[in-house]
Symmetry: C2
């Protein structure tokens, strides 16, 4: 199903034009803009909202519906004890440094990265290695102005330093706070905005705090992830699933992280929409029944060992081979990595700029046993857009321990397990009479005794009496009238276990942003006007209906076409503004609208309609109903444009109507 | 299209059974339940999430798509200056009282309402007027235990008191804090849980507070409504709409209110999903172009005057008549009230338990000029589920004034307006030379002068010089070399105005709850099992596929039916559990699944399938594809069950497969 090729690389990616388009067409904008904005907070306008809603709808189909996941919707506001237990209060923090003179706050790892990368870039330029696209003069100036100050923009580094910097950058996420501080001193890394030195790194907890109720006595946090809402409902979800694992819960919702100094647009924000899956699995059986369906998906992997060696070279490998080789720990983790890959490519991410990077030991969240990030390359570098972590039994275990509520799966064993062991049998009456309130103490002491010690006591009792020591150090003497030790047979017909959790976690705003970057280009003959080649499945509007003019005679046809499309589940918009058809199409190329149909006098007379494709700008013509039927197949992904070209004749009379 | 009647009132509404069903099937549950829960926070489980998602999807269709509204998605976290300007910091508060001994906090109006209603109920019972459904003994006991303590449960009141109480309750929302305090003293209203007196009412601001960024210097609030996010983006939205009004923005999202003492389940929560529309309209033209489409919608209205007279009698009136009579202020407000009515009825709210109540003067939010609430009757009383307010130009005006950013519409006038007036013309050079930095002061003094005063100055200047007074009281003497006063002609070809805003605002959790209550019933012959008669459009699962057994031979058919339904956009679930078909249907009646199809040996042999309807439990039979085609029409609301019964023969062999 080869499609018709279009030269989208005629102009290199132009970030200034790209950002201008997103801003002008209100894909998104800084929140509270008229109040001066707040770093890390953005509002989505109509096309951005719509794109986000379509990504979410596709996510629901691809994951929740396809795999019968249990969707939930839990609250953002969370009482403090939950995050105390989960470890977030103690450990969900980033390292920050302060400018020693201005007090400006910077994130330590970002500071090191920014300065070292800038120095390497300056070195490359000094060596004449810079392979930068030609820039206009004013853009160059802009870049200089914002450039890192305490690094001479063009300055050659010693060969050793280049190597050292590259090794540091390759494993940057692996450094602890004190180590980052050491790097700042060793390499004289300062605040690039002021050239001042920075303080030692300190931890800053990323959770927003609040207080629940009118008394001020109940501290709360805004969740930094939706995951805890899944875990706390685990028992109910398990019951809903008739007590069986594996199964998954899913949730789409807002989360909050009080980022130290957010600067990278939608890629680092303080409030964001996530989509998270918690897949509960038997820790002793992490196979996945649908693994065969993804076995051959080929991925770009960047594993822990490669990074530790200071390199960033990915290897191409199928999921099946990666799991077989132990690079990816188990089938379930591999299954989700592959499904994430399929989802991202389906909605329009360029697969050649997508890799899966394994977390390094120090980098891993406190709850994770293993983690692979889907990283997507964009103008800011490689950005984590999806995390796929194996949280093991961490969360369910800590919450269960804290609350006393068992968060376990109970499974009937096919064959019961028979065991024998020594047990202490008390004569409760005598025990109570003899030891009063120490009776309970004695019982709990015995419960903790080893088989060997019980055997000794059995012997001592046979000789008259045995002595046990209480936790507070008192020695109590017991006789066989109080306790006897016997060997008993136990039959276990239920297996009880805490499931492990595999967690694919999607940052939808980041995905939305890289999607826009990957799909932005300009036509060879028109660098001014951008085109967003969003796949129909996520495009905010699928079809633009363009009447030749706002004349009333077109209204019945507009109604007919838009209502037939709506009936087929396709969202269209009418553009009856007072400009040329060509301009109207160009304006909608900016919004990513994949198809357009034109209604003109021929439509009124002969019931014909032209159909235009966004990327090729090719036009076809046909009977209105025929065009609608082709359109429905195109939008639903059941036909390519090349195929449509075989079904309908080419229309070349564009000049006549324009 | 009359449908087949079902006796849903065979058993009176049984709240205990209703709540047990919602809890058991995990429609929703207290958040952080295993930590003991937090008042006013709830999580939705799978059926609740799905019901909520379907209500939202239908809302999007009914409002956003149908009326081409501009959807946005703005942040929850909001810097303090925004809510200082909007008036929420000063005025978004409830009155609370404290128990004088325990310090327990109660919301003042709820306290008064609860106690007076309980006394009236006790009075009714004492007079033998209580028309309560018979209750089981243990339920009666439970009720007594939780009953209000400082009101003898059964005690007759003086006739005067009954009347006074009724008048107070009818206008309860109209009382200020001090007035509520007075009521507590006058009627000896105490904390019902302890019988202790309560303090004077104090204001408590309902916004959750937080802090943005690592320095603690930027206070923030969690939005209590999504509206401000619309208003702050007004200029961008207007531009997106090519500068034209009327248009509407819409947003679905989370909001937060730190309720004082939430106790009514989903009806009063601290975190909730809202859907809000801000419809921007020319203040001089509040007609609505689609008003004719709703003119004949008949509503139950409870206007301000009726309430002020101490009554709660609604009047049935068409929207057209209500607007014509000035009961509803204008067409746009009336249009949305009618559209809200249509939406609620479409998703399953009982229209006989739906009324629109106008806010009384003291009750209105600080920003509102008029407001009608859609109130829905349920076991807690009449509950506001949708507000429809005319916010006039309040918000746009205050934000514009505060930020200096004009939030206005500029409209080309068909005929320019010609005006004449006196203006001061300065000789800037001389002015600067003579007065130095007072030059600016003088210009702004002149800008504020009245026509009369300018005329006087004109006369004085003709005589030599004129004296003006600066804001700080100095007198400055000017000559005609510095300034001249002339009459000039102005042509205004642009009209600039701040639009008014009509705001329909939906509390989705409340709607979800009353929907469940209105659709819960039990079959005549089986009071134990509940049925939720949710309309197909919102039902969590549309079709249940029930294979006779889990035998593998049914798998290809299950796949076929579920894939054909999915292709038609219909979400089905398979129940292949090991219980009788009757039990599986009953279990899904509890979840509100409207249709079920059974696959048995006849299906495998003859490709027939039975179709079962939830409310009537009637069953039809037909060829698999024929049944699917009928099902699609049923689910999409294009056919009633009665019509389906005409298309397919009745199946009466239920015993054979059960």
């Amino acid at each position: 199903m080869a499609d018709i090729p279009v030269n989208k690389a005629a102009h290199p990616f132009d970030k200034t034009r790209f950002e201008a388009l997103l801003n002008r067409r209100f894909f998104y904008a800084p929140s509270f803009e008229i109040y001066g904005g707040v770093a890390g907070l953005y509002d989505y306008g109509p096309p951005g909202s719509s794109l986000q809603a379509n990504i979410i709808a596709e996510w629901r189909k691809h994951f929740i519906i396809e795999e019968h996941m249990l969707e939930i919707d839990s609250t953002i506001m969370t009482p403090a004890p939950v995050f105390e237990t989960s470890g977030h209060v103690a450990r969900f923090a980033d390292w920050m440094v302060k400018d020693t003179k201005t007090g400006d706050v910077l994130r330590a790892d970002h500071l090191v990265k920014g300065v070292l990368e800038a120095r390497l870039a300056g070195d490359k330029e000094a060596r004449g290695l810079a392979a930068q696209p030609p820039q206009k003069e004013d853009e160059k100036k802009k870049k200089k102005k914002g450039a890192v100050k305490n690094v001479a923009a063009v300055q050659q580094l010693p060969d050793d330093a280049v190597k050292e910097y590259e090794v540091i950058l390759a494993q940057l996420d692996n450094y602890s706070g004190p180590e980052l501080g050491e790097l700042c001193r060793k390499y004289d890394i300062r605040n690039p905005d002021t050239d001042n030195e920075v303080t030692e790194p300190q931890q800053f907890n990323l959770m927003f705090t609040s207080s629940i109720g009118p008394t001020g006595q109940h501290p709360g946090y805004l969740r930094p992830e939706t995951a805890q809402g899944h875990f706390l409902n685990f028992s109910r979800l398990l019951e809903f699933n008739n007590g069986r694992v594996p199964f998954a819960s899913a949730q789409i919702g807002r989360s909050f992280r009080n980022e130290i100094s957010p600067r990278a647009g939608l890629l680092r924000v303080r409030e964001f929409t996530m989509a998270e899956i918690e897949h509960y699995v038997d820790p002793e059986d992490k196979r996945h029944e649908r693994f065969d369906q993804v076995r051959d998906v080929v991925l770009d992997l960047l594993d822990r060992d490669v990074q530790a060696s200071g390199k960033t070279q990915v290897r191409k490998i199928s999921v099946g081979d990666a799991v077989a080789a132990g690079v990816i720990a188990n089938e379930t983790l591999g299954y989700f990595v592959a499904r994430i890959h399929q989802f991202l490519v389906k909605i329009g991410v360029d697969p050649s700029r997508l890799r899966f990077r394994q977390h390094m030991a120090n980098e891993m969240a406190h709850y994770a046993a293993d983690c692979w990030d889907a990283e997507i390359q964009n103008s800011y570098g490689w950005t984590e857009c999806v995390g796929c972590a194996d949280r093991a039994a961490y969360d369910l275990t800590v919450h269960s321990k804290k609350t006393g509520h068992p968060l376990v799966v109970r499974q009937a064993l096919k064959e019961p397990i028979i065991t024998e062991r020594l047990v202490a049998e008390f004569n409760k009456k005598v025990l109570g009479k003899t030891f009063g309130k120490d009776a309970g103490v004695i019982q709990s002491v015995f419960a903790d005794l080893s088989e060997t010690r019980l055997l000794e006591i059995q012997g001592e009792l046979a000789q008259g009496s045995a002595v046990v020591t209480t936790p507070d150090g008192r020695e109590l003497t017991l006789t066989h009238e109080v306790v006897t030790i016997e060997r008993k047979t136990f039959k276990q017909s239920i297996r009880e276990f805490t499931p492990n959790v595999i967690e694919p976690s999607f940052g939808l705003g980041r995905i939305l942003y890289v999607l826009l970057e990957h799909n932005f280009w300009a036509r060879e003959q028109d660098v001014e006007r951008g085109v967003l080649s969003l796949p129909a499945v996520v495009a905010p509007t699928k079809v633009l209906i363009v009447p030749l003019s706002a004349k009333e005679e077109f209204n019945p046809l507009i109604q007919e076409v838009s209502s037939k499309l709506r009936k087929a589940g396709i969202f269209s918009r009418v553009d009856d503004s007072n400009t040329s058809i060509g301009k109207r199409y160009a304006r909608n190329d900016e919004l990513g609208t994949p198809f357009g149909v034109t209604l003109d006098f021929a439509s009124v007379q002969n019931r014909t309609m032209t159909l235009r494709e966004r990327d090729t700008t090719g036009q076809l013509i046909g009977d209105i109903d025929q065009v609608i039927s082709v359109l429905v197949d195109l939008v639903n992904g059941n036909a390519t444009w090349a195929e449509a070209c075989n079904q309908l004749p080419t229309y070349d009379g564009v000049q006549a109507v324009d």
